[in-house]
Symmetry: C2
């Protein structure tokens, strides 16, 4: 399936009207069946579907390692991914994401479910990076954004080591792009505790929880964080960088990993 298509459009510029062709990004629904139970439908860019599946299952705590997966089958025609894992799935317990509600649920470092509250741990990586490396790698990631330049309709995520981009992925969803990066690392056995991730999207608590679970020490965004993402990054030892554009960026937490 194509990830872009050319369609006729009408462009208005003030009083001027032109008939043009434009490149527009596609989307497709992918439905994941886990041990024959339907667990999710994800609207995404139709490529890297097995990375997306692995990353999603990891972020949702159905799997911890590649070895938890027995087999995977993707049918592109009907958009169905069937995954068999070693763990048994209990539809009423595992598939209903009921919220973990406590009186302190508005406090920094709080979670939306009990598993996250118990299993998340502080990221201890001693990784360091210089401000120049950050500025260089932001430029590298931007140069890789081909689908964005063509369509303006996608987010991106990049796994980076020092000033080098290791994996770069674009998707119509900012969560999908991150899951595809995390899933690729998982399936290819690439360690994440000595890397950083750059995302084009805003940093909410949901994005930060993915980074905490994947134990990535540094997260960089072109865009803004929320206060809850900032407080989670402080509690869990993540260096959080936002508004990274050109030679400028803001550091919100754990600045000790960034040297001038």
């Amino acid at each position: 399936m194509k990830i872009r298509e050319t369609l006729p459009i009408i462009r208005i510029t003030g009083d001027k009207k032109e008939n043009l062709s434009d490149t527009i990004v596609t989307e497709t629904p992918i439905t994941i069946f886990l041990n024959d139970q339907e667990i999710a439908t994800i609207i995404c860019t139709p490529e890297n579907i097995l990375y997306l599946t692995a990353g999603y299952l990891f972020s949702e705590r159905f799997i911890r390692t590649k070895e938890d997966i027995i087999g995977t089958e993707y049918n592109e025609k009907n958009g169905i991914v069937r995954v068999e894992i070693k763990k048994q799935i209990d539809p009423l317990k595992d598939l209903r994401h009921t919220r973990f509600i406590t009186p302190g649920c508005m406090s920094p470092g709080s979670f939306y479910n009990a598993a996250d509250a118990v299993l998340c741990k502080k990221v201890e990586s001693n990784m360091h990076i210089t401000t120049n490396e950050i500025i260089t790698v932001i430029r590298q990631a931007q140069l890789s954004s081909r689908l964005f330049r063509e369509t303006g309709g996608v987010h991106s995520a990049a796994l980076c080591s020092g000033s080098k981009v290791v994996f770069f992925i674009e998707d119509i969803g900012r969560h999908n792009a991150l899951d595809k990066i995390i899933g690729r690392c998982l399936l290819e056995g690439m360690p994440m505790d000595d890397k950083m991730i750059i995302t084009s999207g805003r940093i909410s608590s949901e994005v930060l929880l993915k980074i905490i679970k994947a134990e990535v020490p540094i997260l960089i965004s072109r865009s803004a964080p929320t206060t809850k993402a900032v407080s989670l990054s402080k509690v869990f030892g993540i260096t959080l960088v936002g508004f990274a554009r050109g030679k400028k960026f803001n550091i919100y937490s754990n600045e000790w990993r960034v040297t001038c």
Copy 2:
């Protein structure tokens, strides 16, 4: 609860390092219980929660009109909204959003569930708008984006009539901002078939399905659509405008509603 907070940050500009304060957007989890069943947790900007709830329930087809709601109770402390509606809820049938899969699920105008496929109908509104009114109202909406100017961390949605903004709402989620607009119209009895909606976010099929269900004839975005959103807008009679910035915009479908 505050919708913004001031936090200390470190700003890097090339080799320069400054300690500053910055305004950062907050977020909160809202959990909706419908007839005592937990149905969803939504991470959102902590204001207009009852509009969000009504819009979400409408978009997910739990309610059709304000009269379907018997009562609503929002507890700000624990972030729980309890809604009682006339319809009975069957947890296994209504709360598991299983996908509606057909061999033609990739074709234009396809749906993700059977209810949408049966219930969505073509928007027949004869509403017209001029290119100048579009350019004026885009500027009006942009001038209203106060939280975005302060924090860079929110999306917005505006309900507009001619060149006037009727309701304007900002939220950390683009889907939430739309649901808040739709919910407000529902609760206040404001007709939507003679209005247009401006959104700051990208237009995927999920966004377009909200617009189809609310029967809004014109959707304008600052950003890009997907090809599936374009095909749905053609099939369901929505005028779809994208990349609306300054005096420029693209029309993707049903251009007959736009006069020069």
